[in-house]
Point group: C2
Amino acid sequence: MSRNICIYQEFLTAAHKEQINRTAEKLGFTPHYFTLEQFDEARECLQSCEVLYAHAPKLMREAPKTLRWYCCSSAGVDPYCKDPTIFANPDCLLTNTNAYGVTIAEHVIMVTLMLLRRMPEYEEQVRNHGWGNQRPIRSIRNNTFTVLGTGNIGSNVAQRLRGMGAAKIIGLSRSGRPAADFDEVLPISRLDEILPETKNLIMALPGTAETVGLLSPERIALLPADAYVINVGRGTAIHQEALMDALNGGRLAGAALDVMDPEPLPADHPLWNTKNLILTPHVSGNMTLGYTCDRNVEMFCEDLENYAAGRPLKQLVDRTRGY
Amino acid sequence: MSRNICIYQEFLTAAHKEQINRTAEKLGFTPHYFTLEQFDEARECLQSCEVLYAHAPKLMREAPKTLRWYCCSSAGVDPYCKDPTIFANPDCLLTNTNAYGVTIAEHVIMVTLMLLRRMPEYEEQVRNHGWGNQRPIRSIRNNTFTVLGTGNIGSNVAQRLRGMGAAKIIGLSRSGRPAADFDEVLPISRLDEILPETKNLIMALPGTAETVGLLSPERIALLPADAYVINVGRGTAIHQEALMDALNGGRLAGAALDVMDPEPLPADHPLWNTKNLILTPHVSGNMTLGYTCDRNVEMFCEDLENYAAGRPLKQLVDRTRGY
């Protein structure tokens, strides 16, 4: 029986396909490509495949027991980890693709500067053709940052904050293990101790049982009134009502959310009109940057080599842990 | 006769005044402080001063022949260089204060990312409570930049582009002398040769006879249609009508102007409604960042030491050159 790979992706260029074909052929695999519109065709093909490269919970539900590896092209795999019934084969390997650090980190630097420099207020002034009214601003240089999550995203953020002259970058992670690019990494259990001294809180956490509601009303109250909050991980990590209250009541200086709960955000949701809030519709880490797509394909090909050789997969997800 | 310094500034904190007092006393000077509202008092005091620390062409016009040093707290001194009659004493020393590189560079990084990541389009979508519509974006990482001006502002910009992973940063200056932080510095006479390969043009030039109209209609036409233009120097450096035409006609991808001509921009000026243009009301380098103010006072005190000792002033401006 030939070894088949089902590839259900929209972003692949001719060069990406060539790269996958070269790798697959060398290793004795045959890739089959489908665009997102070709769901039925992809499902049919999937029945005789041992590998799926996609980000589509609905297609994954249709996978046969013989599927041995699901390479998810997204970094967040919470939809697959929350619901084990999605895997017909309970031993199916799951990998994620941490290819989004660069683009998400650039988003974080952009919104951090927009908050520190009060850009939304200037933008409103400019929309009204107004001059004048210079406002006190702050700088990344010599400022301090608390980054929740020291993985691919958190590290890329820390590197860029460093490149902009930040004075101190503290990381928090489950393990608290030291990580390059951070001045210090603490276990997330020490969060309550860190929040009262946090001026800039950057959240880049996966969506797991442990991160849901992490920034609770009590913890939001621990932040200084001149603090900024930025979230590019999962919307569920923040108690949204408490955040909106704090922003509208002036108990926080501002926030930037690229992720929220739910997504898409309903048109009548109060988040849209919250004060001092920069909202973006979950675009910080999408496939719109060429580099992200290239890295995605590279990581798939690298783990295809590992898979074919029977080596451990580099991007393997611990499904009970959720990342 | 006591040696008097007239200080006509709004931004000074108690700590700044203490720092100036300490330096002045040590060197045998007496500082006299005035806020911007105290123009008449400042003018009267100025008549018996040999040093003025201010940024006020109107007050400078009232200076006596005995004024020996005007320390301008701004970086741009074009109002003083264009009109020599402003100096009653033709030998009066003029210094400027290049303390704005950090804050202007952070502004440049912010608007560069906003252009590359198409933030104005997302902001409009969010104002309409809209989701969806992911757009192709670009990155600072691996991108190339052309920076006009390799002084304090240009260098700070280059450092930060480097810290964000830029692939190549070319500087252009009058002399073309090599400068740290740039991969290459070319004389500005080679501008026409560089523009067709420029994806991101950052302009940080002083307002001099040589820079007026530098980015002419012909040169705007040399830029690729997917190029971005950012100006934080002087508005007069760009042929504004040609820039507006190129932006409205889609012959440039976008621009961000913090400086324009005239300032303040009249409420009915067509720049306000130009397509793909981020406008800010000359705020990139104001005194709203604590660091900028601290650096300003430091630089004044440093040159006061030089002045008292009869040494050359570090920030001395060549009034014929204009910077």
